[in-house]
């Protein structure tokens, strides 16, 4: 009985506990149903989106970049159909065989072949590894034909930036390259990190980045978890970027760049009527074509080691003492100050002011000198004398009105101001009062005075036209109107005639005469000394110690249409500059005649600028081997170039303590035998 009750009790316990278990099971079932309902209904939207973003991969197609056109509509920067070969390592069957076949088809060197092999072995599966870019059509076709035996190899068509004239437009247009980390942080959009996308890194390419960029195309694909593409879902074509049209005359730009030859210098040519900048050549330069895949280490090393700073745009960021090229402007300020142009001074090779004697570049003296002779013979004494009388407060405002010490509203990354010194400026900068010798130095464009070639060209244009011409780079189809400078016609006439006499009369630059019937060029020479007489005579010795050669010009002299400036760094004197100006202007009026002169010279120099750059590069690369440190990223590079430019053209650290002794100007070295 006891046992039966107990057994019965156990059965009751069992039933109770089975019920508990059943209840637990039912509870868990309800919990699961509720949980599933919550995930699938309440959070459906969220998970649907997550599943979709898992499934669909958006691949951007880099847009074709807008063209950069010259004033005649010819491309200075265009896009070249680019053939490239990529590999998806995961799909490759026989890695070694594929690499061998590809190396044969693409004519790889053993080192390149090994490099490719290593890259493929280290690559992770499904992402494409570039094999070769910029290959020619024959190689592309050869690879395409062999595709059936090369699984995983993908020949692709893309576009790369192409600059037909290469180094001639390097500084002006800049170059393109893959976005850096800094640029991506500034503009965090997926396009910037899309393989094959290139953005403007310098010059106009950078200034007009948004306008040139265009709209990326897109490819929506379905991908597996490991990234393998299953199928294409949707395709959208890219929209090419808008073109920009410059005032630059492409052939003239190329000619000027090539005409600079072995020298380091710049040429600016402006249209006097519109202010159009037709040419802004700065050499030596770099080839922007070779930068679009990033600057190679050898290339960067070569460029940064060159003391002629090929990475600096000398038109905007080269600052030079303008030397005697300021004399027409100073004369104009004298006229403005009420000086009679026929008033004379006797030049005996120097001028005594107080207990000091200031020398003229011509130690034998110029005899009796009026304003016109002061200009065309570049007599220093004439300017010393009248500057003492009229004072710096007459000269400095005129210099500024003519464009010196100014920047212009141009789409460029930076332009340097230079210096137009006056008493207030000196007091603030050095804490010293203005001295007589400061005026003396300023009237001959030395001492503290600094200008860039663009400012010199603007000065020439404004003096020639009497209009406040503003330079411009973009052709917008409108003819700009300029304010008059307020020069009386006879003043302009006088300066024009005197500057014409520099070239066509008894002046300092007879060899600058244009070899063209009926067109006469006016100009003014300048020789800017870099170091004192005690270190160098300015004509020979180390390159860095030689004088800068300068020349400003306009033509035709009696009805100015084009004006400009040429600066040859350390060219040994103005004689290095004006033959360049002569040939550039000759090319403008008679292209064939200009080219004949250039071709003769290029035969001596060893080819065009582009050919010489390529040859230099090959030579340098052979000598350097691969043992070269990598280049800095583009952002650092830009900063560095700025710094270099500033260091290379400094204002004097301490106040100038005396007068500069002007250099001889009449018998310069011919530019063609300037040593490299």
């Amino acid at each position: 009985m006891e046992k039966a009750i107990s057994s019965h009790g156990l059965k009751q316990t069992f039933d109770r506990r089975t019920f508990v278990i059943g209840a637990v099971q039912g509870g868990v079932g309800l919990l699961l149903a509720a949980r599933m309902g919550y995930i699938a209904v309440a959070e459906n939207e969220k998970y649907r989106m997550e599943a979709e973003s898992n499934r669909v991969n958006l691949t951007l197609i880099p847009p074709r970049r807008g063209w950069i056109l010259d004033r005649n509509g010819s491309p200075l920067a265009s896009n070249r159909a680019d053939f490239r070969v990529d590999i998806i390592p995961e799909r490759v069957g026989d890695l070694g065989g594929t690499v061998r076949t590809l190396s044969e088809l693409l004519r790889f060197s053993p080192a390149e072949q090994q490099d490719l092999h290593d890259r493929l072995e280290g690559a992770a599966g499904f992402s494409a590894v570039p094999v070769a870019e910029n290959i020619d059509f024959e190689a592309f076709a050869a690879v395409s034909v062999r595709l059936p035996e090369l699984p995983g190899v993908m020949p692709q068509r893309g576009y790369s930036r192409y600059y037909p004239t290469g180094p001639a437009v390097g500084h002006l247009i800049g170059y393109v390259g893959a976005a850096s980390r800094e640029e991506y942080e500034l503009e965090p959009i997926p396009l910037l990190v899309t393989p094959g996308f290139r953005m403007g890194k310098d010059g106009l390419e950078q200034q007009f980045e948004q306008r040139l960029r265009g709209e990326p195309g897109a490819r929506r694909v379905e991908v597996t978890a490991s990234g393998r593409v299953v199928r294409d879902l949707e395709m959208r074509d890219d929209v090419q970027g808008n073109p920009i049209r410059l005032t630059i005359d492409g052939p003239l730009q190329d000619y000027a760049a090539r005409r600079l030859g072995l020298e380091s210098g710049s040429v600016v040519v402006m249209d006097c009527l519109t202010g159009d900048l037709m040419c802004m050549a700065s050499m030596p330069s770099f080839d922007p074509n070779s930068f679009s895949d990033g600057i190679g280490r050898v290339e960067y090393q070569m460029l940064s080691e060159n003391e002629r700073v090929p990475l600096r745009n000398k038109v905007l960021k080269g600052l030079y003492p303008p030397g005697s090229t300021v004399k027409p402007m100073v004369s104009m300020s004298f006229l403005h100050g009420g000086l009679d142009p026929e008033e004379t001074v006797f030049c005996g090779g120097g001028l005594q002011v107080g207990n000091r004697r200031f020398g003229c570049w011509n130690r034998r003296g110029h005899g009796t000198v009026n304003m016109a002779k002061g200009i065309y013979q570049s007599c220093d004494v004439y300017f010393y004398h009248f500057a003492q009388r009229l004072g710096m407060d007459v000269i400095a405002p005129m210099a500024r009105r003519c464009g010196m010490g100014q920047t212009f509203p141009l789409p460029v990354n930076s332009q340097f101001f230079g210096t137009v010194p006056d008493p207030a400026w000196k007091l603030e900068k050095y804490g010293e009062p203005w001295a007589a010798f400061d005026t003396v130095n300023a009237t001959i464009g030395q001492g503290y005075m600094l200008a860039n070639p663009l400012q010199l060209a603007v000065m020439a244009t404004r003096l020639a036209t009497g209009q406040k011409v503003m330079p411009r780079l973009l052709l917008d189809g409108q003819a700009p109107r300029f304010d008059p400078m307020g020069f009386p016609a006879e003043h302009v006439q006088l300066v024009r005639q005197a500057m014409s006499d520099v070239v066509n009369g008894p002046g300092t630059a007879g060899r600058a005469r244009l070899p063209i019937e009926g067109i006469q060029m006016a100009g003014k020479t300048g020789t800017a000394q870099v170091v004192g007489l005690n270190i160098s005579n300015g004509k020979s010795g180390p390159w860095r110690h030689r004088d800068h050669g300068l020349f400003i010009f306009f033509a035709p002299f009696d009805n100015p249409r084009y004006a400009g400036a040429v600066v040859i760094e350390h060219g040994g004197g103005s004689g290095a500059a004006y033959p360049v100006a002569r040939d550039v202007m000759t090319f403008l009026f008679d292209p064939q005649k200009g080219l004949d002169a250039l071709h003769a010279m290029e035969r001596q120099w060893g080819g065009t600028a582009q050919e010489r750059l390529a040859a230099d590069y090959a030579r340098y690369a052979t000598a350097a081997g691969v043992d070269v440190p990598p280049p800095p990223d583009p952002v650092t590079l830009a900063r560095q170039v700025d710094a270099e430019a500033r260091a290379a053209a400094p204002e004097p650290a301490a106040a100038v303590a005396g007068a500069v002794t002007p250099r001889e100007d009449a018998e310069p070295l011919p530019s063609t035998d300037a040593p490299r």
């Binding site: 278990i21 099971q25 699938a40």
Partner: protein, 372 residues
């Protein structure tokens, strides 16, 4: 009685009320496996159906085993499976790696799977044999704990935490049903918590510990272990109410879902069939488990009651842990979903459980008719 009139006796004794929904579930599982294989019957769906057929026959065969044979075979069966576990350990040690299965040619047999029904059987047999009055004494508790601990320890060293827990769960449920006083469970619960903490810090493998950590905070490792749970939830959640349609599940077809044909087969299903498919699966399991408990309640004696209750609990444990895992309510422990996941061992275990339940159902009918 109407069924007995319309069907021949052997067919009438088959519990159609459970078997028809179950077959529907297995067919549904085959459809999901067909989709998981990328729209193909091979390699999963065909073998899934074949196995179900084979093991259904086996289950029917089991249902004819007489009670005395089961009772007398309990301890030998337990001993044999225990030996198999030791043999697997030894094989693993010899081959220099961990091993969970024995290759029998037609099936890779996991002895740890066999242990799940066996532990229920041996414990039911034990409580059947001890005097009823002893149930509240420690002597009713000690031997079963040893019987549970031995296989758990062996399975844990494989290491296979999921199966070890399943064995432990089956055993504990049996103790509960056998009428062990509740205070032991409360005390045991406290001890188990302490043991779990100790185990977490000292005994678990790094990957197991990691799974627990990630379960508590899946976001901490979205690309590693948490990836499984995250992707599973995305699959279930993106299915919505009616699902994306048969063969349209992107999560499973594009490899985002790990193990779409085994542990995460429910997520594969839910993505394509939605909440409706999920409720169907829950409903079928509900029917099967309810039928199991009814068999247990109706069973004529203590042994068969305990056996039936334990078998039901074993199936329940599979279902509950798997579904909680794929919905992010339990850590990833690698337990397949009965009758849907592709895999021979789990199908066999679950069909043994079902066969045993059908066997007890038959005993009940027979004793009932004998009494009548």
């Amino acid at each position: 009685m109407r069924r007995a009139l319309t069907l021949p006796a052997p067919l009438a004794q088959i519990p159609w009320i459970m078997l028809i929904p179950l077959t529907a579930l297995v067919l549904f599982g085959a459809a999901v496996l067909h989709s998981a294989a990328g729209g193909s019957m091979s390699p999963y769906a065909t073998s899934h159906l074949v196995r179900f057929g084979v093991f259904l026959v086996m289950a029917l065969a089991i249902s004819y085993v007489p009670r005395e044979l089961v009772l007398s075979g309990a301890y030998p069966a337990y001993g044999a499976v225990l030996l198999l576990l030791v043999a697997v350990e030894a094989l693993g040690a010899v081959s220099g790696g961990s091993q969970r299965w024995l290759d029998l040619g037609f099936i890779r047999l996991q002895p740890s799977e066999l242990m799940k029904p066996t532990i229920v059987l041996v414990l039911a047999s034990f409580f059947h044999t001890i005097p009823i009055g002893m149930i509240s004494s420690w002597r009713a508790l000690g031997p079963p704990l040893v019987l549970i601990a031995l296989p758990m320890a062996l399975v844990l060293t494989q290491p296979d935490l999921g199966t070890a827990l399943a064995i432990g769960f089956g055993g504990v449920v049996l103790l509960f049903l056998a009428g062990i006083p509740l205070r032991w469970f409360v005390g045991g619960g406290v001890v188990a918590m302490i043991a779990a903490l100790l185990a977490y810090f000292f005994a678990l493998h790094d990957y197991q510990r990691n799974r627990v950590t990630v379960f508590l905070d899946p976001e901490s490792d979205p690309l590693g272990t948490g990836y499984h749970i995250t992707q599973s939830k995305i699959a279930i959640g993106s299915g919505g109410i009616i699902g994306k349609g048969f063969g349209e599940g992107s999560q499973s077809h594009l490899d985002y879902l790990p193990e779409p044909h085994t542990d995460f087969v429910f997520a594969t299903m839910a993505e394509e069939w939605g909440l409706i498919g999920g409720l169907f699966v829950l409903l079928v399991f509900g029917i099967v488990l309810r039928w199991g408990l009814e068999v247990a309640r109706a069973a004529p004696d203590r042994f068969s009651r305990l056996l039936a209750g334990g078998m039901t609990a074993t199936i329940f444990f599979y279902v509950a842990i798997n579904l909680m895992m794929v919905m992010g309510l339990a850590p990833v422990v690698g337990i397949p979903l009965p009758f849907m996941s592709h895999g021979g061992s789990s199908m066999m275990t679950n069909m043994i459980c079902l066969g045993t339940l059908m066997m007890i159902d038959r005993w009940t009918r027979n004793s009932g008719s004998a009494q009548l």
